[in-house]
């Protein structure tokens, strides 16, 4: 589904990603862990097409297409979703209206019929139920004046509605207390399916107590220095990132 090979990317003069490889197959949940400054957020941004990064080498293929050649909205229409670390506020733009426009633009690009207001509301209700959310977020402007927890829940709600093939969760746990974390993680787990892959980017192991990954990667200095099963995350929690970094250097 997603194949990243030898990816190199710069911010200005600084090389942040230095030859990164990841293979993601449908249904898999990958965790990408790493210390601050290792390039976790850069990876999420480069995959979703944010400006400000220049790719200097390597390739990214998603659903058989050269992902890097596509505009952000084309990537979204192809089934890529980024849950933002810092969701952006859109004052005055009604959340329901925003979601309907987003969903319909994706449906339209796939040759599906656009949903009218009635069917859209029915769909929204269904998704709220799955995620155990109430509808208070719907009447407000997108993320405007939302608490940290509400913003993250809204991201997961968008993900449920847009039904991506690959969801990238960029530090979704940051700034959440344990209750909010549980709500968000429950939402993510409800959306796991054999067709859907997830890339969970996080600094801490605690998110992975709730969202159990199939594969854990350790990202350091712009490269994946180690991959393993979920036990790797626990080991990291106990021994710290210094442990893998030392091993890497010794090797």
């Amino acid at each position: 589904m997603l194949s990243v090979k030898g990816l190199r990317a710069n911010v200005g003069e600084n090389e942040i990603l230095k030859g990164l490889d990841i293979e993601v197959r449908p249904g898999e949940v990958h965790a990408i862990m790493g210390p601050n400054g290792s390039g976790k957020s850069t990876l999420a941004h480069v995959l979703s097409g944010r400006e400000g990064y220049s790719v200097t080498g390597g390739s990214v293929t998603f659903e058989g297409q050269d992902l890097l050649a596509l505009e952000p909205e084309e990537r979204a229409r192809l089934g890529l979703f980024l849950a933002f670390q810092y969701p952006v506020e859109l004052p005055g733009v009604n959340n329901t209206y925003f979601l309907k426009a987003a969903l319909n633009s994706i449906r339209k690009s796939r040759g599906q019929e656009e949903l009218d207001a009635v069917s859209f509301l029915r769909l929204i209700k269904e998704k709220l139920k799955i995620l155990h959310l109430d509808d208070s977020l719907l009447k407000r402007a997108v993320n405007a004046g939302f608490s940290g927890g509400e913003k993250k829940r809204n991201e997961i709600f968008q993900m449920a509605l847009l039904e991506p093939k690959l969801a990238i969760l960029d530090e979704t746990d940051s700034g959440l207390d344990i209750d909010a974390l549980r709500v968000v993680a429950d939402g993510v787990n409800a959306l796991r399916s054999p067709q859907r892959a997830m890339l969970v980017v996080t600094h801490y192991q605690r998110l992975l107590d709730y969202i159990e990954p199939d594969i854990v990667h350790v990202l350091a200095k712009g490269r994946i220095i180690r991959s393993g099963g979920k036990e790797l995350a626990r080991e990291l929690e106990e021994k710290g990132y210094g442990w893998v970094l030392d091993q890497e250097q010794a090797a």
Binding site: E51, P72, L90, S105
Partner: protein
């Protein structure tokens, strides 16, 4: 596409409603003197006192310097190069129904997407279409007549309701008020007259579509709306114009009078030709709009969406004379390319416990220059007066400007005033967020701008709000993608 490129494209998008309709016009040669004024007055068959009034205004105008205080720049206007009267060919047999209207004119409305027939049927709006200077179509007269509402051209009202004209014309905006008000009083060609009798709620929204169409003809409209005690009327004014080479001057005067317990809601959507990329050929829109809340508990509400014109210079204002009267001003103004706008309002609190609300949303893109200029004046006897002002500017790109000049004069210590102002930019983060959800940059800009303007659009009548959003889209996203 980078966001800078996208913004450039948005900014370069061409005016979509630029075209010229071929209609034979009966036009006075360019130039202005007392003879021209007498000729205009004579063509309209006006009574002697009107001719005199026009001449007084003209003589006063001659003594006035052209005003230079607004934050707008343009070459001096040669008032002798303007033709002051232009009427469709057959003014003597004005059409009785739409069937009689020149098909080319109807076609123009079709091109603009505002077919009169459809509006008639759909919205129940009576349309008094001003095409150039003389009213050519008035509909729904009978329904209005049943309610006792007078809705006609000013020239017609001069003959049918001379006493009302004599009593009210020029009482809110006297010809001594300002340079362009004096010029308008001297040469105004036509406009709309509305009178709503005591206790009557006007059964439909009244609407006039203005269009500047005769080449090199300044348009001087005059609108007078009187809401008698306890009545209510909502008036919609919308404008579009054909593409032009030379600058066109538009100096209208609008006077509103609300008597005791009466309410007037006046909504404008303005989309005149803004000029080409260098700003050549756009309309100069120098308008005086003022409402007088003459009676106690009366209310006047201005809502405007200004997307067109090379230069916009207008301050729809309220004189809150009656005790407990209310004035409101809701505005969205867009400047892009080389457009300039100096707009705002004046709220003059004279009566006790008078209240006013100002919500101004300015959007500037390209090299657009925009100024909000507002005055809130609380007179000495206006005890308990209250004002709330909210002034927000949204910048698109980094070559545009936005200024805010709030003037406040308070002479009564019991008054309460609030002023909020913000300036923001559409951020790359916002655009990226929208795009990562599958929306194009064009849709994202339109959505963010519409969100920014929401408080104002909420004040517009439903069918007008739809049109306003459409105009905003035409203005800001026409050619993207």
């Amino acid at each position: 596409m980078t966001s800078t490129q996208a913004v450039d494209e948005i900014v370069r998008s061409e005016y979509e409603h630029g075209f010229v309709t071929e209609i034979a016009s009966d036009t006075l040669p360019p130039g202005l003197d007392e003879g021209v004024i007498r000729a205009i007055s004579a063509r309209k068959g006006e009574p002697e006192h009107m001719t005199e009034w026009r001449l007084q205004a003209y003589r006063h105008w001659l003594t006035m310097p052209t005003p230079a205080w607004a934050s707008v720049h343009y070459p001096p206007i040669d008032f002798q190069a303007i033709s002051y009267y232009s009427a469709p060919k057959r003014p003597e047999d004005a059409p009785k129904s739409l069937d009689e209207i020149d098909p080319a004119l109807l076609e123009t409305y079709e091109k603009l997407g505002i077919p009169i027939e459809e509006q008639k049927a759909l919205a129940g709006i009576a349309v008094d279409a001003v095409f150039d200077s003389v009213s050519v179509a008035t509909t729904f007269r009978s329904t209005l007549a049943e309610a006792g509402v007078v809705f006609c051209s000013i020239s017609e009202a001069l003959h049918s309701h001379p006493e009302l004209i004599k009593q009210y014309l020029g009482t809110v905006v006297p010809f001594t008020d300002n340079f362009y008000a004096a010029l308008n009083a001297a040469v105004f060609s036509d406009g709309t007259f509305v009178y709503v009798p005591p206790g009557v709620r006007c059964p439909m929204e009244l609407s006039t579509y203005f269009r500047i169409n005769a080449r090199n003809t300044g348009q001087f409209e005059r609108t007078l709306i009187i809401a008698d005690a306890g009545s209510y009327v909502s008036y919609l004014e919308g404008c579009t114009a054909p593409q032009r080479d030379e600058n066109q001057l538009h100096a209208a005067v609008v006077e509103l009078i609300a008597l005791e317990d009466a309410e007037i809601k006046y909504s404008t959507v303005q989309n005149w030709y803004p000029g080409d990329a260098e700003g050549r050929g756009g309309i100069y829109n120098f308008v005086t709009k003022r409402g007088d809340c003459r009676g106690a508990r009366s209310k006047i509400s201005w809502t405007q969406v200004e997307t067109g014109s090379a230069i916009t210079w207008k301050y729809p204002s309220c004189i809150l004379r009656g005790d407990d009267s209310i004035g409101e001003f809701y505005s969205v103004a867009v400047t892009k390319g080389r457009q300039q706008a100096d707009t705002g309002t004046k709220m003059i609190h004279l009566g006790r416990n008078t209240r006013s609300t100002i919500v101004s949303k300015g959007i500037s893109a390209g090299e657009g220059e925009q100024t909000y200029r507002g005055l809130v004046r609380i007179a000495q006897r206006a005890a308990g007066a209250r004002n709330h002002t909210q002034c927000d500017s949204l910048l698109i790109g980094d070559r545009c400007t936005a200024n805010t000049f709030p003037y406040i004069e308070v002479k009564n210590p019991t008054a309460s005033l609030e002023h909020e102002a913000t300036t923001s930019k559409i951020s790359d983060d916002q655009l990226f967020y929208c795009r990562s959800r599958g929306l194009t940059e064009e849709d994202a800009v339109s959505m963010i701008v519409n969100g920014f303007c929401k408080e104002v659009f909420n004040e517009l009548p439903m069918e007008f709000a739809v049109e306003a959003q459409k105009l905003l889209s035409i203005s800001l996203e026409g050619a993207v993608g």
